[in-house]
Subunit: 188 residues, 2 copies
DNA sequence: TCACATTTAGATAGATCGGTCTATATAGGA
DNA sequence: TCCTATATAGACCGATCTATCTAAATGTGA
């Protein structure tokens, strides 16, 4: 079955927003690229801001689903590494130019509190997942290992855009392994 | 002596670009906030894009100068830590909402190759400085420690925006110290 | 005082922005 | 077959965008 017009709009807008930026992408370009007409967009979304919010929410749902799938199929004690690897795969496939949530935060910080909060919440949900994984792996539940891993994965986002995925993901794994080894040796 | 009109424009544009984004900030808002007239801007800058480039270059020069000053006054063997601390101070003071170069890369990736390259080069110059500092500190010149530290500092940028400077900088120091300790123990 | 460069004020251009409106067409399900 | 929801085509709105132009005002240094 063909994608609904709404889904076409979401997919097209996501691609254009990611490649060109949010404010630099006009409604006309979105509807032209999606092969629909202006009113179809406004039939499904109340405004451009609502479309942005819908795009970010849909993308975040897919991101979280891929994290959860990786954790669900991880060996016991390996949930943290499974999260790191799933994050790396997402960067390779969908975020070679940096995190769309980071871009949204930059463009909407003083322009839409709703979008900014949505993007920030999406990003911090990775931290929540890391905290749960670190706890279930029996690793250092007190000293903020999850927050340090989160910081590293955030750095991985930008490193992919600047140095390419192979280098960035290898560096990410190296830092993560160092942190895990230190955490294990300090809380045996 | 009062700042020149050109400097007023640069400072005002930098603030507005950082707070509101590049495409969302119009020429009219910049000149109004700077207290000058539109033609004064076009007398000093050929276009909005040229203004963006000048803003990024000026900011990058200040950033590099603060890094170099920190390295110059560092104790022997402490250049790497001095860089990390200088980077942290810059984030606290000037980048509480994330790195302006990262924002520029996001907004100009497919819109101006010149701006994108300028911002990317600005970011990777921190990596160059880290490589030099790691080498002069006698730390692991081969295995990519500088690149791993770079990744961590990039993560620090976003962590400051998401979790606040105190938490983010403490986490950054913790990760850096772990990496330095591991590097020292592996290449004595 | 004169000459020159800068700044001002404001009109103007053409394009694009987000958003609305109406009327027509097209589909599917009851 | 008819009804209803959805999509289309395209005009239209006011606002804003970047950029240019001219003419008057301002200041500064020789």
């Amino acid at each position: 079955m063909p994608a609904s017009k709404r889904d076409q709009l979401l997919a097209t807008a996501e691609r254009l927003f990611y490649e060109q930026g949010f404010h630099a992408t006009g409604i006309d370009r979105i509807v032209a690229a999606a092969g629909v007409v202006r009113m179809t967009l406004y039939n499904h979304f109340a405004s451009k801001e609502a479309l942005v919010a819908a795009v970010l929410e849909a993308r975040h749902e897919r991101f979280i689903a891929s994290l959860d799938a990786a954790v669900a199929s991880a060996s016991p004690g390996e949930e943290t590494r499974a999260l790191v690897e799933a994050h790396g795969r997402w960067l390779e496939r969908y975020s070679p130019q940096g995190c769309i949530m980071a871009k949204a935060m930059g463009e909407f910080a003083e322009h839409s509190a709703e979008i900014h909060a949505l993007a920030a919440a999406a990003k911090t949900e990775l931290l929540t997942r890391l905290e749960a994984a670190v706890a279930r792996d029996g690793l250092d539940p007190h000293v903020g290992l999850a927050r340090r891993l989160f910081l590293v994965l955030e750095g991985s986002n930008m490193a992919v855009a600047l140095l390419g995925a192979p280098t960035a993901l290898a560096d990410t794994r190296a830092v993560v392994e160092t942190l895990l080894a230190t955490a294990r040796s300090e809380t045996p």
